[in-house]
């Protein structure tokens, strides 16, 4: 059961001459909910960009379920079962909420580049999209262009689009940022439900969310993982308290 869903081995990333990720070695165990915390600018989003193939790594190794993925483009990584969300909402603004979700399901349901299926006749596909729409509580906004949704609604859509389909590994980058308390509670329950039986790696600033959801926490500071362990261990870790938690709670 301790097989790694994602394995990072001495991963480094330089932008120009600045090294932003400075040798990250980390195992994300299959089936765990793993939170990454750390101050702004620590390199958490960059780490996600490297894992999901958005940027090439400078050196090191990244594998997904035991297979190297660090040289693959994003669409091939996604096809191997890794799906990610964006800290800065990334949706299709002119397509409706429903269409956004349906697009997220297409590859997964095997439609590929088909130009012979009529979307409206694909019962299973549409049922799955409607179901997701309900899950993220946007049924009332089904046909509204996603670009016109309120901020929190777009964040919910962002989560919905990421968990759509049956990716085995889900990466969420600050999924609840900017949400109200009740919206956050709803999102936490949703994430919990939708990641059942999958591996979750998430960046999160809200410590309540982190302790509610995660069973493992890693702390990234200045491009390195300074601590990794169970929530109770992290809470008790002096170095973490000094570097991060203390600063937050003060």
């Amino acid at each position: 059961m301790t097989e790694a869903a994602i394995r990072l081995n001495d991963v480094r990333k330089q932008f120009g001459n600045t090294e932003i990720i400075r040798g990250v070695t980390l195992d994300i165990v299959k089936g765990e909910r793993h939170a990454i915390i750390g101050p702004n600018g620590a390199g958490k989003t960059t780490l996600f960009n490297l894992i999901s193939g958005r940027f090439p790594i400078t050196s090191g190794e990244i594998s997904l379920n035991g297979q190297r993925i660090d040289a693959l483009p994003p669409h091939l990584i996604k096809r191997r079962g890794l799906s990610r969300s964006f800290q800065i909402t990334s949706i299709y603004p002119r397509l409706s909420t429903f269409e956004n979700l349906r697009c997220a399901l297409l590859w997964n349901q095997g439609y590929k580049y088909s130009f012979w299926h009529t979307l409206s006749r694909q019962k299973e596909l549409n049922a799955a999209a409607e179901h997701l729409l309900e899950e993220i509580n946007l049924t009332a906004r089904r046909d509204v262009p996603a670009g016109l949704l309120a901020y929190a609604e777009q964040r919910a859509l962002e989560i919905g689009m990421t968990v759509a389909g049956d990716a085995t590994v889900i990466l969420l980058d600050e999924p609840t940022a900017g949400m109200s308390h009740s919206e956050t509670d709803y999102a936490v329950a949703l994430i919990h439900r939708m990641t059942e039986g999958r591996t979750l790696l998430m960046v999160e600033h809200d410590m309540k969310v982190v302790f509610d959801l995660a069973n493992t926490i890693s702390v990234v500071v200045y491009g390195q993982v300074i601590a990794s362990g169970k929530p109770t261990e992290i809470r008790a870790n002096r170095a973490v308290q000094e570097a991060y938690l203390g600063a937050l709670e003060a």
Partner: protein, 440 residues
Amino acid sequence: MSTTLRAGAMPAPRSSLVGPIFRIFLIFALCMALPWLFYNYTTGRHSGFMLTMFSQMGMMAIFALSYNMLMGQAGLLSFGHAVFFGLGGYFCIHLLTAAGGGSLPVPLEILPLIAGLCSMLVAIVFGYMATRQRATAFAMITMGIGELVATAAVMFHAFFGGEGGVSSDRMIDRSLFGLTYSQGVQVYYLIVAWSFISILAMLYLTTTPLGRMANACRDNYERAQFMGYDPKFVRFIQFALSGLFAGIAGGLSAITYEIVTFDSVSGALSANALLMVFIGGTNAFGGPILGAVLITLMQSGVSLISNSWLVYVGVLFIGMVTFAPAGLAGLIAMHSPLQQAGRLKPLIVPYIRIVVPGLVTLIGFVGVVELLSFKTIGAAQGKKLVLFGNPIDATTAQPWLIVTGMFLLGGLWLWREGRWFHTLWEAMMADLKPKKGAAQ
């Protein structure tokens, strides 16, 4: 007015095909009946001018729609789309000669499709180069491809026939329906049939996974990657299919005119595609058809009565881009919330108040343009100037003063009415809000 025309405010694509299909069948029936409105019962003949114009509209509608598969649906600005229209034409004219000579046992009705498939092969090759890029780089590559083919068309005489182009004879006596195509109306029906098939096929494509992912890549190609799609490949297939339909349109043109020249691959025709699609509207499926009809009307109709028709097309284009960037279809779509609320009636008087000064300005503008163009070209050709049915002496000051006055004062009047109309429109739209607010 521009605030109400934001692309984001456009309704999301429909998922049902029933409505559009019914409308297309209705339009098809009307198209079939159209030539009989211009049938001269004393001579027993159709109006040749009208038939040619309607035929041109049909092929331009296909061409414009195929262009919109790139521009509106995939967000790709191409400056070389005429390449696929023109090559389709050249392929078809050679096929026609081969079929007429007996070396190709294929009925004439099928030739546009074969020409389209040949065009698609070319689009696959060029598309492989162009669609690796998007945005400006894509536009530049398509422009390069356009120039390349235009140059080739003058250089390689065997296929392109040089300056004179390639001509053939469509009366090859090989038809699925026993038609000779000696009459324009038969060709027109062939065009209607192929337009109908092509439009339906292109409409169908918008409802498929590929069509939707083309929209998705247009909106946010990066997100599409993280959904398992390669945006380059989406663009590539879309490009190839768009080449197919452009080729069919070109093939129909070859059959209609029995000649294909270098103009058909030229940058001017590529620009024309852009013009038609933009004026018609890129967001609605049918927009480019409206654009094709309007531009063809100006090209065939207005060009008959005025040398300056290109000026009018240019001004129309600038006006649309400035005041109605969503095109004619966008203007129509703007009214749908009011129509649904049953509030179109209160707009009748405001529209009259817009149209009257609009007409005055238009007449003034046309007068100025025609007088100027008469001064520079017409007079030298020893012609007489006739404006709106009246012979006019351009050497006296009076006509100049009248048209300039109409143009300037009309423009001022229009501007004032326009502002009033804009306020009224905003108020009407704001009035609708509470009704829709329930969903917010």
